[in-house]
């Protein structure tokens, strides 16, 4: 068996739900202060690369930044060490099942990350109705569009992509139709 993914879970620091948010934000702030790429807290490097490969198919980097540029894998890494620590086992089991599926589909392959994009997509099509994929998708979305203080949505790239301005206040008109109605008064 080429992959042993048990270790990364045992490295996680147990955190209570109450302190989870603050801890996640602290990790992310430390990561921002450091010039080096952020280190993983929950994953080992190989696992991080596998998760990153999956998330980059959920929100790809095609004609604009995707999960990879947003740092989604770091969001997930922090989440599993803090407020979503009780989902670590779901990741452990879920990823093991995905690897099993990968070996079935691509017996010659050595990892998800090294599969060509078409192979990664085929793999996701084979698992897209599983509970693990639903969890991974939810995490990917929050890592792409959640608050950047958790390590994802770097520089607000996800918000920019969907057209969310992230200001503390707005003034009317807010959209095309209320502007039009106001003009017609």
């Amino acid at each position: 068996m080429p992959f042993t993914r048990r270790k990364w879970l045992s490295q996680c620091v147990a955190a209570t739900a109450a302190s989870g948010i603050a801890a996640a934000q602290r990790y992310a702030q430390d990561a921002v202060r450091s010039a080096a790429p952020p280190a993983f807290q929950s994953f080992d490097a190989a696992t991080g690369a596998e998760i990153a490969a999956l998330t980059s198919q959920i929100i790809p980097s095609d004609d604009g930044p995707g999960a990879r540029e947003a740092g989604v894998v770091y969001f997930i890494d922090r989440a599993l060490g803090t407020f979503d620590a009780d989902r670590r086992q779901a990741y452990q089991r879920g990823l093991a099942a995905v690897q099993k599926k990968r070996r079935e589909l691509f017996p010659q392959s050595s990892s998800i990350a090294t599969l060509p994009p078409a192979g990664q997509m085929e793999l996701i099509r084979a698992i897209e109705h599983t509970g693990f994929f639903a969890l991974l998708r939810k995490h990917t979305v929050y890592g792409f569009l959640g608050d950047p203080s958790y390590g994802g949505n770097r520089g607000g790239v996800g918000w920019k992509w969907v057209g969310f301005e992230n200001r503390m206040s707005y003034q009317p008109p807010f959209g095309y139709y209320d502007a039009q109605a106001k003009g017609g008064e």
């Binding site: 790809p60 095609d62 998708r137 608050d147 301005e165 707005y170 959209g175 209320d178």
Partner: protein
């Protein structure tokens, strides 16, 4: 704000359980009238500075509501099933309760809502009944709530609304694109849309700043204090009297009674899980439509073997919640619905029941956008949209700024088989039996939702939506449910109700119960205005009764 401090051994005049929409109002009224009041609130005491736009905290983790990790809830459709853990119900869990994180829709009931049984007759399978009070009894208190808390709206704009003694204290909020599209289409169809009445300040009011349209109302606390929660209004006023202590992180496990069968106080866990008995001469229970019933059931004793105030067996029964169906539309131009408050236009044309429809029920419809970037990406797109990949990413960009929704708020019929009880197996983090919810729709509730959904789609079509999609209304789609009502229903007969027309428990003379649990019927959802009007009225009664020495 430093309030008063009382010793647990000191029997205060009133002990209020729950600092939410009702409890905050009651605490302020009683303390302003000169009584010494302690309010026990299970959640934390947060302030404007604690609130942020953090979706990870407030939509992913629903950070301002009950947490099923420490307070599990079990759910089953009916008694033939074993209830399974599920967040079937949701309520605000901090000082201010649900008034902190609610969308802030503020609808008065119609006159007919108090007399549905007389107007329409019995509905099979339900306990549909008239309220023991009428709209006219409550009208002065609706007005008082609107002025004390700060409600924005336009009196007379809704031709179906009940008579009101005063206009709203504040003008309506600016209309959004969803409101403009909804209003144009509804008028084309001969309907009567009107500016949504909301507990949000359109202008500065009584020392509070106006809304800045940040858009983070539903599920979030308002960092401006512009949402008219009890936290930023009456609770502060109560503390200012110097006679009211708000005690957060205080989780009540039992109401204690004396040898005469009267309330003597409550035992609660403090933040360090120490058990403390707070003594009181009288109690007002305002813990919400589910926790109020649970606490009464937890308060069994020799004198009250089936739970306190439960000689009728109806504590926990007739649970009603926020039925409704959702339709969305995609438009050509940007709406940017994430800006400003969720709903700016409503219609009540389909509010009243009509026997010609072949089922009992009705509802209001509002134009809204309930989503934030991440919650939209997870549940705002049509079911047919891809769930991942380049097309998914493209759909997010196309839909997020160009989508609006229409939500119906419809009747939830009172059925005795829908109820709150204590789970026989599952316990919470404090070792108390978990809430067990047994609930299924009445066939007429489903028929009403389907009928209204067709109207919602018709309005979106008329508005020119280029794509329309609807959300299913399976029981699962309606969870977690808010707007918890009916579990200690009000009535004149002690065998058929839990509290009397002034919210006094039939069985316990110094116990008042006022929150969603007092509701006899659900009207058409949006219960907060009525919960607060009832709270003002109940407090008035409590003050008079206490002065007459009836509550000691």
């Amino acid at each position: 704000m430093p309030g008063a401090t009382f010793q647990p051994s000191e029997a205060v005049d009133f002990l209020v359980i729950g600092a939410g929409a009702a409890g905050g109002v009651v605490a302020k009224e009683l303390s302003a009238a000169g009584f010494r009041v302690v309010v026990l609130e299970q959640g934390p005491y947060l302030h404007e500075k604690d609130y942020t736009h953090d979706e990870v905290k407030y939509t992913y983790q629903a950070g301002l509501t009950n947490d099923p990790k420490t307070q599990p809830i079990t759910y089953r459709k009916n008694e033939s099933e074993t209830a399974q853990p599920r967040k079937a119900i949701e309520y605000g869990r901090q000082v201010g309760g649900g008034s902190v994180h609610f969308t802030a829709n503020y609808w008065r009931f119609h006159e007919s809502d108090f007399r549905e049984r007389s107007l329409y007759g019995a509905v099979p399978g339900t306990g549909l009944a008239d309220w023991p009070i009428q709209y006219a009894d409550l009208e002065p208190y609706y007005t008082k709530a609107e002025y004390e808390l700060g409600i924005s709206g336009l009196a007379g704009a809704n031709p179906f609304e009940a008579p009101r003694s005063k206009p709203y204290p504040l003008p309506p909020m600016p209309v959004k694109s969803s409101g403009v599209l909804f209003e144009r289409a509804a008028r084309k169809l001969g309907l009567h849309p009107y500016p949504a009445p909301v507990a949000i300040l359109s202008q500065p009011y009584r020392g509070r700043a106006a809304c800045v349209h940040c858009g983070f109302c539903e599920s979030f606390g308002c960092e401006m204090g512009a949402k008219s929660s009890t936290l930023v209004t009456v609770i502060r006023a109560a503390e200012k009297t110097g006679r009211c202590e708000i005690r957060p992180d205080s989780y009540v496990r039992k109401i204690e009674t004396d040898a005469r069968g009267r309330v003597a106080g409550a035992v609660y866990f403090d933040s360090r899980r120490r058990e403390i008995l707070q003594r009181a001469k009288a109690m007002v229970l305002c813990a919400n439509g589910v926790e109020t019933a649970r606490l009464l059931l937890l308060s069994q004793s020799k004198a009250f073997p089936h739970g306190l105030a439960n000689s009728s067996g109806l504590v926990g029964r007739y649970l009603m919640w926020d039925n409704g169906a959702f339709a969305s539309g995609l438009f050509d131009h940007p709406l940017n619905e994430y800006k400003s408050i969720q709903a700016t236009r409503v219609l009540h044309d389909y509010y009243e029941a009509d026997p010609k429809r072949g089922f009992y029920g009705g509802g209001g419809i509002d134009a809204r956008f309930d989503y934030y970037p991440a919650s939209f990406a997870l549940s705002g797109l049509p079911d047919s949209a891809p769930k991942w990949g380049a097309e998914y990413k493209q759909a997010l960009r196309t839909y997020f700024t160009h989508t609006m929704g229409l939500l119906s708020h419809s009747s939830s019929l009172p059925q005795e088989r829908n109820y709150i009880s204590l789970d026989p197996v599952v316990r919470d983090a404090w070792g108390l039996p978990a809430v067990r919810v047994t609930f299924d729709f009445h066939p007429d509730d489903l028929a009403t939702m389907r009928w209204l959904l067709a109207k919602q789609v018709e309005i979106l079509e008329t508005a020119g939506a280029k794509k329309i999609w609807t959300m299913g209304f399976s029981i699962e789609d309606n969870m977690p449910s808010r707007h918890l009502m009916g579990t200690c229903r009000m009535g004149n007969h002690p065998q058929r109700s839990v509290v009397d027309r002034f919210h006094r428990a039939h069985d316990v003379p110094n116990l008042l119960i006022v929150d969603g649990s007092s509701f006899v019927t659900s009207a058409r959802q949006q219960p907060t205005a009525t919960i607060q009007a009832l709270a003002y009225r109940a407090a008035d009664f409590a003050i008079q009764a206490a002065k007459r020495g009836e509550l000691g």
